[in-house]
Symmetry: C2
Subunit: 779 residues, 2 copies
């Protein structure tokens, strides 16, 4: 590579911070218009599920009530940022009823101006400001244009990179000025080279016939319902798009010059505020208000790239590779040597040219006021420089090279560009049908495996559900210890730390300690007149045998304290002799040094999930089982049942795979089966004694099937130990007898009950426990 073009990279390599060069902080904002199934702008209000439009940090409205804006937090990994965007997108889709997300930047079928709903805000200072601003821009630009949607890409370099580079270069100037220079240079080079981005990622080649009629003049009709400049790549980035009425050249030589020029525009009343300067790249600060003042005082914190169209070819309107290419382009903009610090009018004109005519084979582009070159040659040259740069950086170069090669391919073959593919699609199917086809397809895709929160699959599913529901309603989420499933939720001044979804501030430590100790739990429940299996713990055989007279004539269970595969358990339902009793005790003690003898309570076990004074979900869990067909072996049937995408390993999926291990082998053996046994048609074979979902059990929703009396007992049990969130394990005999006091017994209370099993039961409804927990937490 030509050394002088990338002299900065030489210094970076000398400092050994190439790795840090390719780090950064990334954030994405993306708008999508809501439409009905026919591609008409949705006139319904912004869904309630997303909470406040003013304060939800992830999901708000943009100009129109029907225009959803999705905002990711800042991530240091672009992949994570992208996955988070996909999460928000999926969360939004999940809440839409009979509506879709319009996958195109240019608007769908629009009603007349007056019927386009402007975003509706709460009546307060912030809400009023938002409304006033919208009224102003609606008057200036027209509501239809304001429905044009796009993607904003926020970027800053890693602090460590900038700090080390600053020190390494031995700059005399302040760090603030050094940093400003870095980002200003990126902006200038962006203006110079962004036509290539518009060509590559432009995805709005036409507009619908319902669009602002003034803008349709001079356009060709390319389908029944749409118009275009025939070789356009991005109508949104062209003069038909949403941009300032006049073309401004604002200086990027220094922050001072930038602020001076924008202030002049405001003073000349060409724009109302700095915010109305619609540049394709913006200087940004952490604070959003008084931005020019803050820029001058504290310097640039990051840059915002605003040129990116929604890509209808991509499931969520953008793909990761595009974001990665833009990241490389920013690095290129930093490293590429400049001749001067000027941005000229022809730079802006080049962008317009590519937006409107980018797919013309013979397009020319200006390289100075008077000189033109072929766009293809110009673009190939940039691509070559980027290739060399990536090689020179020497980190992830193969990976980056592939991304560049894909871009190069699109330059070489214009029909492979996004805009070309979309253009052909619109021509073939019409504008609305083509885009609605995509929208409906993507919505259907979203229904598959939708329980995961991308990028958080290592967390327990219960925690993923809670995070997802928090994002939905605009509660800020932060994972503070991944291994521990420890998260922080916040909204306004309220902060909550939550571990494993149900360990919260709502339960006191002593409540947890009571539930952690089974004998103490039983004691407390008994004191509160709640039925528990009466019984005693024994550490000595002789004491257990001595108590024969205590249990004689009762139905009892004699079991090792820690049960394993149900071994060592004896149940006496009727009269038993001291001899039989002694033998059962000997058996139990042969499995454990501690033995429990307690009242036998007949029936089935139910997990009753209590939050506050409400039962929010009830499950009956069935031990791991398969249902025979008279042909397949147990092994084959298990394999088949495990194919269900809901079944996984380690609490990451709603259900767990059935294991074929020692425990299952022993349990089958006891029934006279083995893994190769072929059960009869409809024969149900159980593979475990215990019914835990964690060992492959099935969860069956009984929330609406349990008599109220038992629910009241469960609530009373939770209250007895002072619990707000509590999983009550209750045995109930003869459910169809209605509530009878003698028919139940509480086996255990759980202070960390899983919520995912109630959200994705094997059979039954999603009981939305994430939302219930957020409600009681006050979010």
């Amino acid at each position: 590579m030509s050394e002088d073009k990338f002299e900065l990279l030489k210094s970076i390599k000398k400092l050994g911070i190439e790795k840090d060069l390719i780090q950064g902080n990334f954030g994405i904002e993306k708008e999508n218009v809501r439409v009905d199934k026919n591609g008409y702008l949705a006139l319904s209000p912004h869904p309630n599920a997303f909470g406040s439009k003013l304060t939800n940090p992830y999901i708000i409205t943009d100009f129109s009530e029907s225009q959803i804006e999705m905002i990711t937090p800042t991530f240091t990994k672009l992949e994570e940022c992208y996955e988070f965007l996909e999460n928000i997108h999926r969360i939004v889709l999940n809440e839409l009823k009979d509506e879709y997300l319009w996958p195109q930047s240019m608007p769908p079928n629009l009603p007349e101006e007056e019927y386009i709903p402007v975003a509706n805000y709460e009546d307060n200072a912030d809400g009023n400001y938002q409304r006033l601003y919208r009224d102003h821009i609606a008057a200036v630009y027209g509501k239809k244009k304001l429905l044009i949607s796009g993607i904003h890409y926020n970027f800053s370099f890693a602090d460590k990179f900038l700090e080390t580079l600053y020190k390494g270069l031995g700059e005399k100037d302040s760090f603030k000025n050094f940093k400003d220079d870095v980002y200003l240079k990126i902006c200038r080079n962006f203006y110079r080279y962004s036509p290539i981005l518009i060509y590559l990622f432009g995805a709005s080649p036409s507009v619908h016939s319902s669009f602002d009629s003034r803008e349709l003049e001079n356009l060709d009709k390319i389908s029944e319902d749409s118009y275009a400049v025939p070789k356009a790549t991005s109508m949104r980035n062209s003069d038909k798009g949403y941009r300032n009425l006049e073309k401004f050249i604002v200086s990027y030589e220094s922050v001072e010059a930038y602020a001076r020029d924008i202030t002049a525009l405001v003073e000349a009343e060409l724009i109302q505020s700095p915010k109305e300067y619609y540049s394709p790249i913006r200087l940004k600060t952490k604070k959003d208000k008084n931005i020019l003042k803050y820029l001058l005082e504290k310097g640039i914190d990051y840059v915002e790239l605003r040129f990116l169209d929604l890509n209808p070819l991509s499931k969520i309107g953008i793909d990761l590779e595009t974001l990665q290419f833009i990241h490389l382009f920013i690095i290129y903009s930093l490293l590429k040597k400049e001749k001067n610090k000027k941005i000229e009018l022809f730079h802006l004109e080049n962008s317009d040219l590519v937006a409107s005519f980018g797919r013309q084979e013979d397009m020319q582009i200006k390289i100075s006021k008077d000189e033109e070159v072929s766009f293809d040659d110009w673009a190939k040259n940039i691509i070559n420089e980027m290739k060399n740069m990536v090689k020179e950086i020497g980190v992830n170069d193969e990976y980056f090279s592939l991304i560049i090669k894909n871009a190069e391919d699109k330059i070489k073959h214009k029909h492979k560009s996004n805009s070309s593919i979309i253009y052909e699609g619109i021509k073939e199917k019409n504008y609305i049908d083509y885009h609605m086809g995509k929208a409906i397809e993507y919505a259907a895709l979203n229904q598959i495996n939708q329980f995961n929160l991308l990028g958080y699959e290592d967390l327990e599913l219960s925690t993923q559900i809670l995070l997802k529901d928090a994002i939905k309603r605009g509660t800020k989420v932060e994972v503070i210890d991944r291994n521990e499933n420890f998260i922080m939720l916040s909204k306004d001044d309220k902060v909550e730390y939550i571990k494993q979804a149900t360990k919260t501030s709502l339960d006191s430590y002593s409540t947890v300690l009571i539930m952690e100790n089974k004998s103490v739990t039983k004691m407390v429940l008994e004191k509160n007149n709640i039925r528990v299996p009466e019984g005693k713990n024994y550490d000595e055989i002789i004491l257990a045998k001595d108590d024969y007279s205590l249990f004689k004539g009762k139905a009892i269970v004699i079991k090792p304290k820690s049960t394993n595969f149900g071994l060592g358990i004896t149940i006496f339902k009727e009269e038993f002799s001291q001899n039989l009793y002694n033998r059962a005790i000997d058996i139990a003690f042969s499995h454990d040094s501690s033995v429990i003898i307690e009242e036998f309570i007949e029936g089935k076990e139910y997990r009753i999930f209590v939050i506050g004074d409400q039962v929010v979900g009830i499950l009956h869990r069935v031990p791991a089982n398969i249902c025979g067909d008279g042909k397949k072996t147990i092994k084959e049937l298990v394999y088949e049942k495990n194919l269900d995408p809901l079944r996984g390993k380690g609490y990451k999926t709603p259900l767990e795979k059935i294991n074929l291990g020692e425990a299952e082998e022993i349990f089958l053996e006891a029934q006279g089966f083995n893994f190769d046994y072929i059960p009869g048609d409809n024969q149900i074979v159980y593979l475990r004694e215990n019914s835990n979902v964690s060992t492959g059990g099935d969860s069956i929703d009984y929330t609406d099937d349990i008599p109220d009396g038992y629910k009241k007992v469960a609530i009373a049990a939770a209250r007895a130990v002072g619990a707000t969130i509590c999983g009550v394990d209750m045995m109930i005999k003869n459910l169809n007898e209605g509530y009878k006091e003698e028919n139940y017994g509480i086996i255990e209370l759980n202070f960390n009950p899983a919520i995912h099993i109630h959200c994705y039961p094997y059979k039954g409804k999603n009981r939305k426990l994430g939302d219930k927990i957020l409600d009681i937490l006050g979010f």
Copy 2:
């Protein structure tokens, strides 16, 4: 043994429940009058520390404001009951300022009737009732008599014993009637044989000259200040004692007969209520009010033996052996066959006789209306029967035989009886001086090793302190899981479960989880602008080394995540090269797979104990150390320091013994010493790097020496994590500079800080944290 005398025992043995026969439920009530150092009745109010006189279940007032009554809960082990009584006694002693507990049943030096303070109660229904009853008995019996104090012994058999016996005997009658018969028989035999108890345990041979002058008539002056019937054993049990004005014979043939007779007494206005029937043994029910009604409906729950004098020879007025003998006597009363179910007047007269003349060598006792036998022969016969009975029961027989043998000895040698020894003492030293000598001696003894709660020494000292302070103020205590130091406190409707003294309902589970996770704690404190050592955790050597630029030029500590004897730690206080930095990282990783690099904060570490928004104690802990004298070796100096009774093992004492193990050996070696090294005079040698009290460190109270600024920071830190009870570990540099923000750093927050170290520091004040915790719990 003669079988017909104990035929019941034969059945018991046949049923195999001999072990259960000697079980029981035991409770003790004991009164002591408060006196000043000269033996005058204390005229001060009942100490505030004991809370409400009406509701404290352990410590109340009896008739007089100056008469403390101590009440144990019911225990199934007599030893535990006795120890609990001793605990209450010690707790009471601890709160007395310049006062003593009068060790004698008969009153001390009394003022005139009008100056004797009657117990003063709160103005409410219960308080008014208590006052009215006292006014009545003061008028009937005179206040001076009401100051006579004694011990009540509550007993019932184990349910299991009675139930099995009932079933085994195949009784036709109801279980209630069977149980009533058991206790009624005990009462009847008590009346027949109790003279032996009065002889053995009578301990009030004389009265003070300030006693009711009518009662002094006909008495001999036996010392300057006291009068007696010369051979009396128990003036309290004689007609000079506090008893009904007339002698009543109440039937114990059945509960019905008993109730009928007492009702007749009330109707004849001989007594005001059943409560005023002052029998030496009483039938009792669980409920205290409407006792006759309850007795008739539900039957007898237990018996109360009321004859027992305070024994001035015993530290707390009673010894365990006496209680054990009485237990055996009750068993004897159950087993001993009766000729009939009558109690005759001569039975009552026998008791009076022994009370007044029991030490006469030639005393005769009636065995029927007309027959007399020598008391000695009669008593020896009972003793022989008891001996045989114990042998026949065959459980703990050697132990019980010894107790009986000691009693036998006192019968054989009258001068060995309690009353005789006390009588001689009074004659020699005078009544007041003799008893005050004992009172002062016992109070002094109480000062030694007073940190333990007897019978609870297996619990952590922090829990013992909390229990002790709870008992003191009348909060009901129950240990619900000994191994876990899990206790229940209750008062009225309020119930609190507490583990390890500081794990309570006041802290939420999430607060605890934050504190449990060091990196999360740091994060939360940082978010709240509280200084913590900045730093990072590393699991990979290469990442740690990569971050050289991050730490360069700062004072840092590089340490293995789990430090051991301070090994593997490097501290850089000034500039350091990448080379040195790398080497320090290698060393740290050679000790642990996880390494922390953090800011080095100079200074000393303080444990700041925060409760609510208050700092209640501050300790600086000094690593295990000894101070040389130029002669002894380190080993000898450690041995000497460990002799301190405050030092023990396993959190059961305020301080821990210094160990001479591997850690100490390595640490001394690093200083060039070994266990046989002789430190110079006043040379302080440290044996550990870490300063934990648990490894022999010294705790030094700094509560009053830390500038307020740091206390505020500690409170803010606790608040940041939402903690109510929190041990804040803070490094502070230059304490004498006053508060400076840059001088502190918080190392750790503890959700289960020990309280005992603040109550019994090596140097400094008892900060009474048990009381502080009970206060914040609302008890």
